[in-house]
Symmetry: C2
Subunit: 197 residues, 2 copies
DNA sequence: ATTAAAACCTAATGACCCTAGGATAAGCCT
DNA sequence: AGGCTTATCCTAGGGTCATTAGGTTTTAAT
C-alpha cells in the first residue's frame, strides 16, 4: 500500500480548499482526512489539531493575499496604487471566501509557525508603502493605514455577510468608496480641535 | 420538581451571555443547557437547533446595538452625532464581543423570526439619518452609509482580532479616524473622473 | 376532577476531536 | 543486498456534542 505523502502544507491546503467550498465552519479533521483518502488520526502527525489547522489556513491566506496585493501594486503610486491594492484585496476575498474568513479568527497561533509566515506583517508594511505617495507623517500615517485597512476589510466583510442586500450594486459603492478614501488621504485633516457640527 | 420556565428568549439570552464569556464558537447546546440546569434535548422545544440559536443571538445583538446607538445619537447632529454613533458602536462590540461576532455570521435566519426583529434594518436606517446633516444626495448618500458602516465595523473587527497590536493605542487612531470620516463627509468628492495620482 | 397541551426527561444514534499503541513503508548505513 | 531507524499511517477506543423519538409530569383550562 503506497503512502499518501502527507505534509503539514498539504493538509493545510486541503483544508483551505474545503473552506472555500463549504465554508470554514465545516472544515473538520474528518472532512479533510476523507478528502485526502486517509483516516482522521493520521492528520495529527502533521497538524496539532483543528485549532492549529485553522491557524495554518489563516496564515496561508494572509500570505497569498499579501502576494496578490504586492503584485497588483508593484510599480504604481497614488490613487492607482490605492485602487490596485483595494481591488486585489477584495478579489482575494471573493475568490477564497473560506480562506478569507480564516484570517478573521482571533486564534492564538503557534509562535514558531507565525515566525515563518510573514504574511500578516508584510501586509501591514505593504499598506504603509502604498500610502507613501500621500506624504503623511507619523502618527497620522499609522492612523491612515488603520483607517484604510479597516474600511477595506469592513466593506468586504459586510458584503460577504449580505449587508448590502438588494439595493445599489456593491460594485458601484466600492468604486465611490475608493474615490472617497483617495480624496481623504490627499487632504488628511490636521491634528485636533475638530469643529463641532 | 419545579419547571425551569424556559422560553426561546431565555435560551437566547443565556446563549448570548455564554458567547460574551467564552466566545461564540464555544456556545453549544450542551453548554447552554447546563447553565440553565436542563438537559440538552429540552432546548429543542424552544429553538430549532444550534444554527437557529446562533441566528437568534445575532438578532438580539443587532437589536441591542441599534438601541444603544439610537439612544446615543438622539438629539445630536453632524460630527457630534457621528462620534456618538461610532463610539456606541465600538462600545457595544467591546462590552459584548460574543454577541458582536454573532452579527457577522452570514447565517440564513428564519424569515418569520427576521421579520419580528427589526434590528439590522433599523441600524441601517439610523445611519442614514445620522448622515442627514451632511446633505448628501443619492446615490452618494448610500455610498457614504456603506463607507461609514464598513469603516466602523472593520476597525472594531480588526481590533478584536488583534490587528493593531503593540503600536499606537487603538483609542487614538479611532479618534483620528472619526475626524477623518467627518472631514470626508463634509467634502464628499464629486461624481466620477478621479484624477490619477 | 378530567383532560389537553405544554415542558422536560430518558434513551439512542451518529458525527466529530483526539490519544495511544501497533504495523509498515522509506530511506540510510554498512 | 540486508538490516536498522524513523516517521507515516492505521486500528481501537473514549469523550463531547447535535439531534430525534417517545415517554412522563407539570400546568392550566374546562
Amino acid at each position: 500500500m503506497a503512502r499518501a505523502g502527507l505534509t503539514a502544507d498539504r493538509v493545510t491546503l486541503t483544508g483551505a480548499e474545503l473552506a472555500d467550498e463549504v465554508g470554514l465552519e465545516h472544515v473538520t479533521m474528518s472532512a479533510v482526512a476523507r478528502r485526502l483518502g486517509v483516516k482522521d488520526a493520521s492528520l495529527y502527525v502533521h497538524v496539532r489539531g483543528l485549532e492549529d489547522l485553522r491557524g495554518r489556513i489563516a496564515l496561508l491566506a494572509a500570505d497569498e493575499k499579501t502576494i496578490r496585493i504586492a503584485e497588483a501594486t508593484a510599480g504604481r503610486a497614488g490613487k492607482d496604487a490605492l485602487v490596485a491594492f483595494a481591488d486585489s484585496w477584495r478579489a482575494y476575498a471573493h475568490a477564497h471566501p473560506g480562506r478569507y474568513t480564516a484570517t478573521q479568527i482571533p486564534t492564538q497561533i503557534d509562535p514558531e509557525l507565525a515566525a515563518r509566515a510573514a504574511g500578516p506583517r508584510r501586509a501591514v508594511e505593504l499598506t504603509y508603502s502604498m500610502l507613501r505617495a500621500y506624504e503623511l507623517a507619523e502618527p497620522d500615517l499609522t492612523d491612515a493605514v488603520r483607517l484604510v485597512r479597516s474600511t477595506l476589510h469592513g466593506f468586504v466583510s459586510l458584503e460577504a455577510a449580505g449587508g448590502f442586500a438588494h439595493a445599489r450594486p456593491a460594485e458601484a459603492s466600492w468604486a465611490r468608496c475608493l474615490d472617497a478614501l483617495h480624496a481623504l488621504l490627499e487632504r488628511w485633516p490636521a491634528s485636533r480641535e475638530g469643529d463641532p457640527s
